[in-house]
């Protein structure tokens, strides 16, 4: 695995950590939705995560595929988790940014908000599980 792939993964994890701490943290403490500084931190971490995820998609998806070389040391569980991360990451990104556009009304925005929340929880869990598995065979 090259340094770009490692850096991408680190960036994604760092972004995801801040997002989870602010987003899921506030939700878990029963103070959702986020406001003030917490919201600003969440939004600030979003592009880091998004760019990291995109880079991971480019650098890890090849090695992540079963039976391929390179980082082929990942087992099937890590591979599945990687795909889960990519899919959930995409959902989280889109459900986070689409409300900033005049595409959907209040009902649609609420649906996206819930989608963002629960996809984010799955994403955080997938990253947590993927971290120890990513180098195991």
């Amino acid at each position: 695995m090259n340094s770009t792939a490692r850096f991408s993964y680190c960036a994604m994890c760092a972004g995801a950590f801040v997002l989870a701490a602010t987003g899921i943290g506030v939700f878990a403490l029963g103070k959702a939705p986020m406001t003030h500084w917490v919201l600003m931190a969440h939004v600030a971490a979003a592009p880091v995560f998004a760019l990291g995820l995109a880079a991971v998609a480019l650098t890890w998806s090849g090695p992540g595929r079963s039976g391929s070389g390179g980082a082929g040391r990942m087992g099937w569980a890590a591979t599945v988790l990687l795909w889960v991360i990519l899919v959930c990451g995409l959902v989280v990104i889109l459900s986070g940014v689409v409300p900033m556009t005049p595409l959907l009304g209040t009902g649609g925005q609420r649906m996206l908000y819930l989608t963002h929340r629960y996809a984010g929880i799955v994403l955080a869990a997938a990253i947590l599980l993927h971290l120890p598995l990513r180098r195991r065979g």
């Binding site: 990519l86 940014v97 925005q109």
Partner: protein
């Protein structure tokens, strides 16, 4: 919708109604005289009709067509007002003089006056009503002494109860009857004849609810004539004069008669009478009242006008979008017979109490429809029904109506607006009042500035100075546009507590600058601000009184006092402004805050955060307190500025995130398609096509 039939009691009226007059006339015409048989028929018919008439008071039309209110007038004693014939038996012309009509007795014949009196417009001093969301106060204003004190019987924080200032209910009426519809404090349950002020009501009469102020539909209710009558303290006569039913038959007002009367003495018998307009009465002494259950906005505007375009710019205003769409005020601000008008704010149903009067009325209806139910059960059922009906109030709020689609209201869409805004802001924050600018605007209101009554042109510095919109957080935690007024008064301070001095007391004792008479035409409201030297001189002139405390002056958010002979000013809780929510005029969606984008609110100069609110009062503006909107709300300026600053990067954020999403999507699509290709290849390899 129910219309009540007016009762026309033959026995009370003192002479037969037209139908019986015709029967009698026919009998006479046929026989030349009233025969015993004819008289018997007549008496029998009269008896039946009398019984029917006695029951008529409980009759209703039950139609959506309004009942024709061609009804007899009753005086305060309940007697039918019957005009003398044009000529006496001696052939002398007779003046149509009679006692004034009583709305309580006239309208109350069919509409339960006691229940009506529980209404929001009349109940402020009853003490059995929750105060609800703070609303517009009465403001005791006196330009000569630079006094403006928000008053309310409801105990809203930041207002004074009249009694706290030493104002009696009678004093309150003399100050504010011009826009007070009667009832409540205008009709004390018992008049204390020993009370030098309230005792006057034995002569001036009580101030009954004048139903026609709101319910006349002709537009001919004369507020100016009403004011003239009220100035003479002719409370009992005012409804008759304002309705244009007649004029005073004498020049002496009840107030002037009361001036020469002393508590404990007998009430003079020579009180004013009304010279009625005969053309208003038909042959049966009935008067046609053109009334409506649904008053036109023009009627509401007498008390509920607010004017922001003060510089001959009224034509700039588009008015409320609902009125422009053809609605009227009472489409949303509804009420039943109890006149508990829906104020229309969210959470109002929690502030509403089901009163005994409401239960009484409902019990009567329940027992009318179910003869088997006893009173106790009917009352329980009535309370349950009324509690359940409180939910109806919620459906008449902005949100309630626009979520349910009542009256064809457009559904809430709010494209591109994150839902958190609906939790943090009231609907009015974006949709009501004038579009906010860097500073709030001056606003005049009917109650504060006597709008609706002729007076010299009012300017922006005409007291009381009220500003809008100031974005404040309400008790529900939501930001709402508000009107704001800073109290201004001379007071005594003792143990940290301020007791305002009434203008009359200040005028006597304080050495205040007298307005030059030449200056009066130019500045009829004495708006020239007080200088520090003038304030100091006035404070020095107020006599020391150790028992009442030191003299202070409160204005523009500060308290001025003398410290070792030197004038000092400081912020004080007593100088804090009073504010109340703005609800109208509602702007259409395309003119709402946010319609042009997030920067309407999330920018470094957005009014909702950074408008400068300059406390206004009778001192030089620079001497008053000034704060920004965030500060008034107790928000964090650093956060507000930082958050606004981040919106510069919002387009970049969107580009980055959308770009990243596109890459991830492309990767997923790429491998997804490759996977599909592999599957189809594998399937093809196993089962080659023929």
């Amino acid at each position: 919708m129910r219309s009540w039939i007016g009762a026309k009691s033959w026995t009370k009226e003192g002479r037969p109604p037209k139908f019986f007059a015709l029967v009698l006339e026919e009998e006479f015409n046929a026989r030349g005289k009233a025969s015993p048989k004819g008289m018997r028929s007549f008496l029998l018919a009269a008896l039946i009709l009398s019984l029917a008439a006695a029951q008529a008071e409980d009759l209703r039309t039950e139609s959506r067509q309004p009942f024709l209110h061609n009804i007899p007038l009753h005086d305060t004693q309940g007697r039918v007002i019957s005009l003398p014939d044009l000529f006496s038996e001696e052939g002398k012309p007779q003046e149509p003089k009679a006692a004034p009509y009583s709305p309580a007795q006239t309208c109350g014949k069919c509409h339960d006056y006691g229940v009506v009196g529980q209404g929001w417009h009349f109940n402020e001093a009853l003490g059995n009503v929750k105060p609800g969301r703070p609303g517009e106060p009465w403001i005791l204003t006196d330009p000569a002494t630079h006094t403006q004190i928000p008053l309310s019987y409801r105990g809203w924080a930041g207002t004074f109860k009249p009694s706290e200032l030493g104002l009696s209910d009678f004093d309150f009426l003399t100050n504010f009857a011009r826009h007070f519809p009667g009832g409540g404090i205008g009709e004390p349950a018992k008049i204390d004849s020993a009370d030098p002020k309230m005792g006057r009501m034995q002569i001036t009469g009580t101030m009954e609810i004048d139903c026609l102020i709101c319910h006349q539909s002709t537009g001919q209710y004369n507020h100016e004539a009403r004011l003239t009558a009220l100035k003479g303290q002719d409370f009992r006569w005012t409804p008759t004069i304002a309705a244009g039913l007649g004029v005073f038959a004498s020049f002496r007002s009840a107030g002037s008669i009361a001036d020469q009367w002393h508590p404990g003495k007998a009430v003079p018998s020579t009180l004013p009478s009304i010279r009625y307009d005969r053309s208003k009465f038909d042959a049966d002494n009935n008067v046609m009242f053109e009334v409506t259950r649904r008053p036109a906005p023009a009627n509401c505007y007498y008390c509920h006008t607010s004017q922001t375009a003060l510089d001959d710019a009224r034509w700039h205003s588009d008015l409320d979008v609902h009125l422009r769409a053809g609605m009227i005020c009472v489409d949303c601000h509804r009420n039943g017979l109890d006149h508990q008008i829906v104020r229309g704010y969210e959470g109002e149903s929690k502030d509403r109490a089901v009163t005994d009067a409401m239960i009484d009325l409902r019990e009567r209806i329940i027992r009318r429809d179910d003869a088997m139910i006893d009173s106790a059960d009917a009352r329980k059922l009535a309370r349950r029904q009324l509690d359940a009906e409180l939910g109806m109030i919620d459906s008449l709020t902005c949100r309630g109506c626009h979520e349910s689609g009542r009256l064809g209201s457009p559904r809430l869409i709010h494209k591109g607006l994150p839902p958190i805004h609906l939790e943090k802001l009231t609907c009015t924050a974006c949709h009501s009042g004038p579009s906010p600018g860097p500073e709030p605007e001056f606003v005049h209101t009917s109650l504060a500035h006597k709008l609706g009554l002729p007076a010299p042109a009012r300017g922006k510095n005409t007291a009381p100075i009220i500003l809008q919109p100031v974005f404040l957080r309400g008790s529900d935690g939501k930001i709402a546009p508000c009107r704001m007024v800073w109290p201004s008064y001379w007071a005594r301070r003792k143990d940290g507590k301020l007791t305002p001095l009434l203008p009359a007391e200040v005028a006597k004792a304080a050495d205040l600058p007298k307005q030059e008479s030449d200056d009066v035409p130019r500045d009829p409201y004495n708006t020239k601000p007080l200088t520090d030297a003038q304030i100091q001189k006035a404070l020095e002139s107020l006599p020391d009184d150790a028992s009442k405390g030191e003299a202070v002056f409160v204005a523009a958010g500060k308290m001025f006092r003398l410290d070792k002979g030197k004038l000092v000013s400081e912020e004080d809780p007593a100088a804090r402004p009073y504010s109340w929510a703005v609800a109208h005029d509602v702007r259409p969606a395309r003119q709402a805050l946010g319609a042009k984008g997030c920067a309407d609110c999330h920018s470094e100069d957005s009014p909702i955060y950074f408008a400068t609110v300059l406390a206004r009062g009778p001192i030089e503006p620079a001497k008053g307190l000034h704060k920004e909107a965030w500060e008034l709300r107790g928000d964090d300026k650093t956060w507000a500025e930082s958050f606004a600053f981040t919106f510069h990067f919002r387009p970049l954020l969107k580009c980055i995130v959308f770009g990243a999403a596109l890459i991830v999507l492309a990767v997923l699509a790429h491998y997804g398609l490759r996977g599909v290709g592999a599957i189809t290849a594998a399937v093809s390899a196993k089962k080659p096509l023929p």
